[in-house]
Symmetry: C2
Subunit: 428 residues, 2 copies
C-alpha cells in the first residue's frame, strides 16, 4: 500500500471519486450503529445476573459487624466490602471507603467538598482567585466536565505510551500552588489504553507539590479490566509508592464495579490515606445516611474474594477480545501503510484511540454520522472539547454486537480514507 501523502493530485482525485461512490452507497444503506459509548454489551451484563439471586428473602442480613444491614448505620461501607476492595486493589483495609454506585460521583464530591470546605483544613478552593488542574490528553471527557463545571482552569498535558509528560507535570505541580490536582486513568487509560510505566508512577509519588492540598486523582477504573489474560498489565501501587515517598495523603484512588457487574447498580470505592478518610467522613456524616449496604453485601456474596472478581473478569475478556480484534484487524488491514492514521493496541480497558492526520478528526466523525455510525464527538477527549490539532478520535467497541461492530469499522475506515484524501487535496 502506498502512503496517501505520496500520491499525486490526479491519483488523489481518482481515489476520492472511488471512495465517494462507496460512501454514497453506504449512506443509502441506512445504517444505524453506535461506536460512541463505553457501555458493556448485553452479553457482558448477563454474566452478573446470578448476583441478583445471592441476596434474597431468606438471606442472613447480619454482617460481620453484627449489625442488621437492612437498617440505618455504617457510613463508610460494610467491613466485608472494604475487605473485598482492599484485596482487589492491594491496599490496607483502613485505606478503603465504600461509596454508592458511581466513582464519577466520588470524584465530583471530593472536588465539591474541596471547593466549599477545603481539603484537610486548607482554604476552600472557592475562596481562591485561581484553581488549576492538569489534564493528560487524550483523556476522559467526564473528568474534564467536572473540573470545568467548578470553574477550574484546565491545563493540557501530553501523554505518550508511558503516561503523561512528567517533566511538565513536575514543573507545574512543584512550582505553582494554584495547581490543586491532576486527572489520571493509570491503567488502560481512557481512551488510549496506555498503562503508566513504573517510572511515571514513581515520579508521581515523588512530586513535591507547591500546594499542601494538591491531590492526584488516580481513577483506576480499569484496574482488573484486562482483555488478554496472558498480557495483564500491572502498574506500581500508588498507595505504597506515595507512602515510600513521604506523600501518604497525596492521592485519591478510585475504582468501581460499574464495568464488573452492572453500571449504575455497582459499588464504588475510594482508596486513600486514613487521614484523608477522616477528613472526608467528617463531612459525609452530614451529607448522607450512608450508602446501600445490601448492594455491598450482594457484591461480596457473589464474588467472595478478589479471585472471584478476577475469574469473572476473564469471562468479560472472552467477550471483549473478538470485538477489540475486529477493530484492530480492520484498522490494520484497511489503513496499514497508508500513513493516514495511528493507533495503539490496547490490552485492556474499553477503548481504542485513533489519531487522524492533522485537521481531520472532526471531518471523519461527521462523515461517520452521515453514514449512520455515531462516534464520540471529536475533541471530547480534550479539556473544553478543544483538540488543537483535530486528530483524536475515540472508538468504543464494546456495546455493538460483533457483526454490527464489523460493519461500523468498515464505515469508519472508509471515512478516514475519504477525509484524508480530501485533506491532502486541499494543499496539493
Amino acid at each position: 500500500m502506498k502512503a496517501y501523502k505520496e500520491l499525486s493530485r490526479e491519483e488523489l482525485q481518482s481515489l476520492q471519486k472511488e471512495l465517494r461512490a462507496q460512501f454514497d452507497k453506504l449512506k443509502e444503506a441506512g445504517i444505524q450503529l453506535d461506536m460512541s459509548r463505553g457501555k458493556p454489551g448485553a452479553d457482558q451484563l448477563d454474566l452478573s445476573n446470578p448476583m441478583l439471586d445471592v441476596l434474597n428473602s431468606s438471606s442472613d442480613f447480619k454482617g460481620v459487624q453484627a449489625m442488621d444491614l437492612r437498617n440505618y448505620g455504617i457510613l463508610d461501607g460494610i467491613k466485608e466490602a472494604k475487605e473485598l476492595f482492599a484485596e482487589l486493589m492491594e491496599a490496607p483495609v483502613d485505606h478503603v471507603m465504600i461509596y454508592g454506585n458511581s466513582s464519577l460521583n466520588i470524584m465530583y464530591d471530593l472536588i465539591s467538598k474541596a471547593m466549599i470546605h477545603g481539603i484537610a483544613g486548607n482554604t476552600p478552593w472557592c475562596k481562591l482567585d485561581k484553581v488549576k488542574f492538569l489534564c493528560p490528553v487524550p483523556g476522559y471527557d467526564r473528568h474534564f466536565a467536572i473540573t470545568e463545571s467548578f470553574g477550574i482552569e484546565m491545563i493540557t498535558i501530553p501523554m505518550d505510551e508511558n503516561g503523561p509528560d512528567m517533566d511538565m507535570v513536575e514543573e507545574y505541580v512543584n512550582n505553582d500552588a494554584s495547581v490543586k490536582g491532576i486527572w489520571n486513568i493509570p491503567k488502560y487509560s481512557n481512551p488510549s489504553g496506555v498503562v503508566y510505566s513504573d517510572e511515571v508512577v514513581r515520579r508521581f509519588a515523588n512530586l513535591k507539590p507547591a500546594a499542601a492540598d494538591f491531590r492526584i486523582f488516580w481513577d483506576n477504573a480499569y484496574a482488573v479490566h484486562h482483555i488478554y489474560p496472558d498480557k495483564k498489565a500491572e502498574i506500581l501501587n500508588i498507595v505504597t509508592e506515595c507512602e515510600k515517598a513521604g506523600n501518604p495523603d497525596m492521592y485519591y484512588q478510585l475504582c468501581s464495579t460499574s464495568k464488573i457487574t452492572f453500571p449504575g447498580s455497582g459499588v464504588a470505592a475510594l482508596i486513600t490515606s486514613p487521614a484523608n478518610i477522616k477528613d472526608i467522613t467528617k463531612h459525609m456524616t452530614i451529607q448522607t445516611i450512608g450508602h446501600d449496604k445490601l448492594n455491598q453485601l450482594r457484591h461480596v456474596k457473589f464474588f467472595k474474594n478478589a479471585a472471584g472478581v478476577h475469574a469473572h473478569m476473564e469471562k468479560h475478556a472472552a467477550l471483549l477480545r473478538p470485538k477489540f480484534e475486529a477493530v484492530l484487524d480492520t484498522l490494520e488491514k484497511e489503513l496499514g501503510g497508508l500513513e493516514i492514521g495511528t493507533w495503539l493496541k490496547p490490552t485492556g480497558g474499553y477503548f481504542v484511540a485513533f489519531d487522524t492526520i492533522e485537521g481531520c478528526a472532526k471531518k471523519v466523525v461527521g462523515m461517520c454520522k452521515e453514514a449512520g455510525v455515531v462516534m464520540t464527538s471529536a475533541g471530547a477527549t480534550f479539556p473544553y472539547g478543544n483538540d488543537p490539532k483535530d486528530t483524536s478520535i475515540r472508538i468504543a467497541p464494546t456495546l455493538p454486537t460483533p457483526s454490527e461492530l464489523q460493519k461500523a469499522c468498515e464505515v469508519f475506515v472508509l471515512c478516514v480514507k475519504l477525509a484524508s484524501v480530501e485533506k491532502y487535496l486541499e494543499t496539493k
Copy 2:
C-alpha cells in the same frame, strides 16, 4: 395526682428521697436500652424481605423505556419509578426525579449546588455575605446539621400544633432577601408529630419571598407513615397550592422509601417544578452516571402501585401502634396531673416529643443515660443544639422491642419525676 409545683419543700424532699432510691436500684440493674434513634425495628424490616426476590437472574430488565436497566443511562429515574412516586405523592410525573438511597443526601446536594452554582441563574450563595435559613423547632437535627455545615445562619421559628408561626415566617421571607430557605417536615413532623394545617400550607404557598431563589424544603418524610389507619392525616398538596399561588418553583418536596422498605437500600425522590428539574439535571449530568435503576425496578415490581405501598404501610402501622401506645400510656399513667411535662399524641411518624419543665431536659437525658437508657441528646432538635429553655426531649419508640420499650419508658418517667423534683427544690 397533685401537681409537683403545689408540693411543699418537705413533700418534695420526701419525694426526692423515694425517687432517688428507685433510681439507684435501677442503676444497679444494669439496663442497656436505646430510645434515641428513629430506626425501624427488625420486624418492620422483615416486611420488605420479599422485595429481594422480585428481581432475580431470570427477570426482564427492559423497562418501559425499552432500555436495558442493567446498563448505563437514565439520569433522573426510570419511568416506572417516577410513576409510582407521582401516584403516591399525588404529583404530575414530570415533577418527579428519582435519586439514590437518601433524601437527606438530596437536600444536602440541593444546598451544595445552590452554594456553588446558584439556583436558576441566581448568585451562588457562597458569593453572598449572608445566607439564612428558617428552622421551625423542635425540628430534625440532621436538617440543621446541613445548614450549619455550609455556614448558613439558622433562625429559630416556634411551632404549635398547626405548624410553624407563619407570621414570623412571612415577616422574614417576604422582607429579608438573605433568607433563602426553610426546613419543614409538614406531616407527622420530626419530632413533634405535628401535621401542618391547611391554613399553614396555604400561607406557605402564598409567600412573597424577597429572594428569587428562596426555596421551601418540604421534607415529606412521613407522607404515608400513619400509625392509625382510621386517623390518617392529610395535608394540602404543596405542588398544587404553590402553582395556584403563582409560585410554581418555590418548593423542593422530598420523600423516600427509607422507612417503607430498607433504610440505606431504599429509593429517594425529589418532587418539584419542571423548571427546577431542568436546572438541577443540568448539573447532575456532570455529577453522576445516574442512580441505581435496578433498585428502582425492584421497588416498582414489589409495590406495583400506590395502593401496594399503602397496604404495606398498614403492616408497619400494626407493628408500631403498640409501641407508641406503650409510650403514651406510660406517660399518661405516670405523669398525668403532675404538670411536669407536656407531649402531643402523634398519629403517625416516628417520634414522641416531650417537653419537661424549664431547665430540665438535659438533666433528664443525663439521668436516663446513668440508668442505662440512651435518649436523643437534649437540644438536638434545635439549631446549633441550643434549646434556650432546655425543655425538649425526643422519644424514639420504634427500634426497641415492646418489652424493652416498656422498661425504657419506666426509666424515663422516673427520671422526669426526679429531675423535676430536684429542679423545684432549687427554688423552693
